[in-house]
Amino acid sequence: MSNLSPHSEMLLSEFRELRPLLGQLSEGVYALLFSVLKEQNIELNAIEYRVKTEQSLKGKLERKGDKYQSLDNITDLVGLRIVTFYSDDVDKVAAIVKNLFDVDWQNSVDKRKLHQLTSFGYNSLHYVCRLKEGQRVVDCTKETATIPFEIQMRTALQHAWSAIEHDIGYKGSVKLPPEFRRQFSRLAGMLELADDEFSRLRNTMTEYRRQVETLVKSGQLRDVSLSTDSFNSYLNLHPFERLNQRIAAVNQAEIYPVSLMTFLPLLESFGMETLDDVQQFIDNYSDDAYQLALSQLAVTDLDILSESVGLLNLCLVYVLKHNGGIDGLCHVYDTINGKHPSNEMLAAAVLEQAQSLLLNNQK
């Protein structure tokens, strides 16, 4: 039997009629937000939407039905949640939401600002919005214009906090003893600190990447340590292109683009520490790498080559010139291709070819 008052029953019945429109609105707002956030290159952990279930609304009306004069007073019939990775991005998303929709400031909450200076807890930003006057969202009829919808914005860590808090029932009817509340508070503080640190780390990394790019562009390779970021920036200069083109010319081959990042551990294992070391490696060994590739490809009609062909031959030549022998050549193939019994056969074949080219032991 229903515990609802006649007024609440009426609201529930209105809700049933309104449901198709709420569905349209949630999908339309979701599609708009998804495309705008993508356009702005904001990396999201999740973006989701839902229409309140009848059961959930019933529960709400049972608890505080008299508070609502009409369905318009219930602002979360349509809800969207945007979960970002970084706390900085919550503000960015909020600015975009503010720009896209009319925000009902009286009913919107920035829970981040509600806490006492000395307390920690759930941080999230909730905006109650409506479509702007005349705004049309895909698949939405004009009847949806006045319906409010709630957008929650939070970081992934805030989201995790909220989910765990919900699971444990922190806000349930049983009051938690002070020591447990303190434990919650400590965890919330730690997550807030972690959120700030992740944001700070991202800013530092972005700055570092910018500096590396500048140094690489200005040719100051000696000052740039070899790392994932620096090697990536260096690859934007296409340092192996000349050698690749020379090799490709043997059979008028096309070059098939691939990532060269898998070679980084190999270059590090050769003791290279800066981008200048890599540049010297190219300068010193390109001729021999070309000769080695030529000796293999000239007897074939292979006219498609991976973009890694130049770098692969450079590595093979480097090993040969440093007395790496069959073990060293195997190490090259193991690192690039993964360990496989046939790597030894490939290494033996290269060694045999190299002997005919007199590459061995001549640095």
Partner: protein, 100 residues
Amino acid sequence: MNTTFKEENKDFVMYFEGRLDTAAAPKVEQDVAPLNDCTGHDIILDCTKLEYISSSGLRIFLAILKNAKPKGSHVYIRGMNDDLRQVFAMTGFTNLFEFK
């Protein structure tokens, strides 16, 4: 050049037999079409009886890989002889595929 397509333990397996050269490539390209709908399946290119592969053959293998990757499917090469492995190694394509 013969090809056989089979579904084995949820994997899409394409068996190649003979010489995959320029002359054989157009037909093989048609034969491998069932691999296009590979969502939810890994692909195994069984080369146990493949004797030779030309650039055209490499392009077919690369096209299979290019189609499968965005769908989350792995492409494995199985039973490749030493000559074929050398072709993959000298062209630099070995590390694009997974070998069984």
